[in-house]
């Protein structure tokens, strides 16, 4: 291993550097590498020698290059910047240069390292806290809050009146409260007669066909008579019965058609 121009002080440090290089993929960027290197100085980060650190870093890069290890561009950029910093720190300040001094740059780098280190420790402390699902637990059987959707229907009196008016307007001249109890429809009569017609072998008065309860009340009698008459015409047309009336206003008689 060519290590002629590597200025490591002892074998231990060199072995450490080799370990670093083997681990190069394990570093999370140049700042992380710098932080690791700074630990070898075994001093508080506030008292760190940035110059020494820069030299360590540059040596590391050199070593990696000699081992033909591909380093990401940001490591090389950091190396360039540290080389620049090193020259700033070593050379007397150029009065024509109004940029930041080497000391300012070094102080900032030290700050960054300290901050990163502090964040690492904080992250460790955070992860060391009691954690939900590991150290403390939530309710094992959480009860769902059931969402009850209640629909409330509303209507105003105006809605009601408008609704009623709408119906009334639809057929204003019709009786509003048609009393169905006193009306027999054609269909009702037809249905009734169809069922009974088989029993009418002889001529019988149509009025005798009116159902019970419809013969006395005049309104009901009228309605039932009319519907039964209409129904009998229907049945005659269908060939089910015969109809006869001997005289004007004489009783209308019906009988079932004899089947051949």
């Amino acid at each position: 291993m060519p290590d002629g121009d590597v200025d490591f002080e002892d074998v231990e440090a060199r072995l450490a550097a080799e370990a670093l290089i083997v681990d190069v993929d394990g570093f999370e960027g140049p700042l992380d590498l710098l932080l690791t290197l700074s630990r070898t100085q075994k001093v508080d980060l506030r008292k760190i020698s940035v110059l020494a650190l820069a030299e360590q870093y540059l040596a590391f890069i050199h070593q990696a290059k000699s081992l033909r290890i591909e380093l990401a561009a940001d490591y090389l950029l950091m190396a360039a910047w540290l080389a620049f910093l090193k020259s700033r720190l070593l050379l007397p300040p150029d009065p024509s240069d109004d940029g930041p001094s080497g000391e300012e740059l070094a102080a900032h780098l030290a700050f960054q390292l300290e901050r990163l280190s502090a964040m690492r420790e904080s992250a460790a402390k955070l992860m060391g806290r009691d954690q939900k699902g590991r150290d403390f637990f939530v309710r094992g059987v959480p009860e769902d809050v059931t969402r009850v959707r209640k629909v409330r229907y509303t209507a105003t009196l105006l809605d009601l009146m408008q609704g009623y008016a709408r119906i009334r307007t639809k057929d204003e001249f019709r009786p509003y409260a048609m009393d169905r109890a006193h009306v027999m429809t054609l269909e009702q009569a037809l249905e009734r007669m169809r069922g009974l017609i088989g029993f009418a072998g002889e001529w019988t008065d149509l009025l005798s066909w009116l159902p019970e309860g419809w013969e006395t009340d005049p309104a009901r009698r009228r309605s039932a008579t009319a519907s039964h008459f209409a129904a009998s015409l229907e049945l005659a047309k269908a060939g089910a019965i015969q109809i006869r009336q001997s005289d004007t206003f004489a009783p209308i008689q019906i009988r079932a058609m004899e089947r051949g």
Binding site: A155, T156, I167, G213
Partner: protein, 219 residues
């Protein structure tokens, strides 16, 4: 808290000494809280430190939660913690949605109000269309209508009448207070036939507003 079990001697064995009963109670409390299934005494004992008496601890816990918002219940031969049954209503979040009554329902309701007691056949006769069971059921459910006496006619059809709730909702003292045909006409509500879905014409805004204010029931 730190009372020691008198039966257990000090020294090495105390390492395996059961925790104080109060501590066992805490443990049972935590286990019952966090476990999704019910827990038997045997399971409790298996999970608690050696020598613990889950049965005794659970009795203490049960007493502690008596009358609280949460209680220890026995399910079969296992235990669980549940919210107190009387507080179940807190686990419900009610959202009230206000909806306008459908046109069919309003018309049916109006007919019942104006013609009560009225049978379903009569309502259909007046509306000129059949009345769906759903519409009547909805009005019954709202408790705005109820069954009246059966009509003494063949088939003895049931009649409908409006309820006190109906009167309260519409701010009426009795169904007789409903505006009559004359008043409806005077209000411009009976004048002509509106196109379907449109408000009735002939209602000048002011009048309409007044009436709405007069009759609408903000509940």
């Amino acid at each position: 808290m730190a009372e020691t079990d008198p039966q257990t001697p000090d020294g090495l064995e105390s390492l395996f000494e059961a925790p104080p009963l109060a501590e066992q109670e805490r443990m049972v409390e935590a286990i019952l809280f966090a476990t999704s299934e019910t827990v038997t005494i045997a399971e409790l004992n298996a999970r608690m430190p050696h020598g613990s008496d889950g049965a005794q601890a659970i009795e203490l816990l049960k007493k502690r939660y008596e009358g609280r918002g949460v209680c220890v219940v026995k399910v079969g031969d296992a235990f669980a913690m549940r919210t107190a049954p009387d507080l179940g209503f807190l686990m419900r979040k009610e959202t009230v949605e206000t909806r306008k009554l459908s046109r069919a329902a309003i018309e049916t309701l109006a007919i019942i109000a104006y013609h009560q007691p009225v049978t379903r056949a009569e309502i259909e006769e007046i509306r000129g269309v059949s009345v769906s069971r759903g519409t009547v059921d909805q009005l019954l459910e709202l408790e705005w209508i109820r069954f009246g006496r059966r009509r003494m006619t063949p088939g003895r059809p049931v009649t409908y009448v409006v309820t006190q709730d109906f009167l309260d909702h519409f701010g009426l003292e009795s169904a007789r207070d409903l505006p009559g045909v004359k008043e409806l006409r005077a209000a411009g509500l009976l004048e002509s036939r509106p196109p379907p879905g449109e408000p009735l014409p002939g209602e000048d805004e002011d009048h309409d507003e007044n009436q709405a204010e007069m009759f609408e029931d903000e509940d």
